[in-house]
Amino acid sequence: MPPDTLRDGEALLMRERELLAREERVFVTHTRRDAARIFTLQVAFLAALLLAWWAASGTLVDPLFLSDPISVLRVLYEIVVDGTLWWHLEWTLIEMALGYVLGVSLGLALAIVISGIPWGTQIVRPMMLGLFAIPKVALAPLVIVWFGIYLVPKVVLAASLVLFIVYFNTVAGIAAVNPRMQEVLRVMGASPFAVLTKLTLPSAMPYIFTGMRITVPGSLIGAIIGEFLSSNRGIGFLIAAASSRYDTARVFAGILSLLVFVLLLNAAISRLERRLARWQPLSNGKTKL
């Protein structure tokens, strides 16, 4: 027989809250501990790689080919401090961002329009697949002939690496829309535009977002390819110029800065994605609070 106080509604509620809090804490510490463990292992793995690099350089491999972590970090420090890195990164970032936005907008617009035409996506499919499959590096010289050597060819190359994946993902997302929901909306008197904005696009959002996330590195690749071919500013130019002088440490410093940059970008996108997907249930079945 439980004490009378426990049967009191208020007391029961308190007890329930306590239990819930304990459960919640167990759940949180568990995942936090896991996360900390994973992070430690990630750092250890990276440290081991750097150590191996440092050990191999000058013993197994000529430093001319591989440089070594310390020289690379020294160069990286120098170009960060004297502003060289930012000067180049800024330019690459502009090319990449413009190309990315252009590619995403074109990919989305094409997918929405073509999906609205009967058999549209099937008709253009071989052509889209073909264009998607062409190595964009092969197009680079042509792009330069068409668009000159300034900003535009880099933007176009970056966009070309984004457009098709966003297009295919959006088409798949639109095709996956529940037809019953579509009927419900039409009976409600929704205009085609209302169906698009209230049902089709929100429903395709996870597909579109996947496309947008996996193409971020693509836009960077496009910008860098463009810079390799002809440029006087940008991380691609920094790397190409250093490479022509056999300055391996500087080449690696450039690559490393790109790597860090891409990781940061990815983290930012994941964050945004989690925010936008708040309506979805968590995979563990718990509800987000």
Partner: protein
């Protein structure tokens, strides 16, 4: 009965589907059905008899192969936006909260924000969902989702005909009864017409003014029975109401033959 009393009409309706291999499969033959304004009508019949197809025709989502469907005397040729449609699955938009789902139809009709919010809150409160308005569909139970799905159709008072396709099918027996009761309360006295597909005889009797019984496939109307039980009805004790068993037996006699036919066709 004058023409004004008739809201929906199926005239000599046939539906032929093209089955795999190009063979024609007749789903409906010579369906004649008249729905009176303001009545609660159930369509009942063996599974696969085409009763949902008739409902889809009233919604303008399926076109008859022959014959015509009329709404207030006008032939339906396109999606019929003058009806509300409650589908078998709740089909709520998962990225919208309960209240945002309820507001959907009003949004499509261009109702101002404040007004539609007020209306949606009122309807959600009427099915006991006060305080749950901001929950997402995945946070609601099956019964609650079904309530939201019904309310999102009823909330649009510009439509006076509601089509319901076995809405309580997947629910457990108790929730089913409670929802039947809630539906009758929401409907009673509104003058709206409800056409409700079910294969549960007790449910049909508890809800309807008239029950249209379908033959087995290819579906036709076998019989139409009046349910004269007084309203408001107590769905929880409907089987104890005097006159219930006569109606039940009558419907069951009609249905039994058809179900047996379906079974022998399946066995063949």
């Amino acid at each position: 009965m004058t023409a004004d009393d008739i809201v929906l009409q199926a005239r000599n309706v046939y539906k032929v589907f093209i089955a795999r291999g190009g063979r024609a499969r007749t789903a409906l033959r010579n369906v004649e059905l008249t729905v009176r304004r303001g009545e609660f009508m159930c369509l009942i019949g063996p599974s696969g008899c085409g009763k949902s197809t008739v409902l889809n025709m009233f919604a303008g989502l399926v076109t008859p192969s022959d014959g015509e469907i009329l709404h207030s005397g006008r032939v339906i040729t396109d999606v019929n936006t003058r009806v509300g449609y409650v589908t078998q699955d709740d089909n709520l938009l998962p990225w919208r909260t309960a209240i945002a789902n309820v507001e959907l139809a009003l949004e499509c009709k261009g109702m101002p924000r404040a007004e539609r919010r007020e209306r949606a809150l009122d309807y959600l409160a009427r099915v006991g969902l006060k305080g749950q308005e901001e929950l997402y569909p995945h946070e609601l139970s099956g019964g609650m989702r079904k309530r939201v799905s019904i309310v999102r159709t009823l909330v649009d008072e510009s439509v006076d005909v509601i089509l319901m396709d076995e809405p309580f099918g997947p629910l457990d027996a108790q929730t089913r009864l409670i929802l039947q009761d809630e539906l009758l309360r929401l409907w009673h006295g509104t003058g709206r017409t409800i056409i409700f597909v079910t294969h549960d005889i007790v449910e049909a009797i508890a809800l309807s003014d008239r029950i249209a019984i379908f033959t087995s496939v290819p579906g036709a109307i076998k019989d139409i029975r009046e349910v004269t039980l007084p309203r408001p009805r107590d769905v929880f004790h409907i089987h104890e109401t005097p006159g219930f068993s006569d109606i039940y037996d009558g419907i069951w006699n009609d249905l039994r033959e058809e179900i047996l036919k379906t079974r022998s066709a399946d066995a063949a």
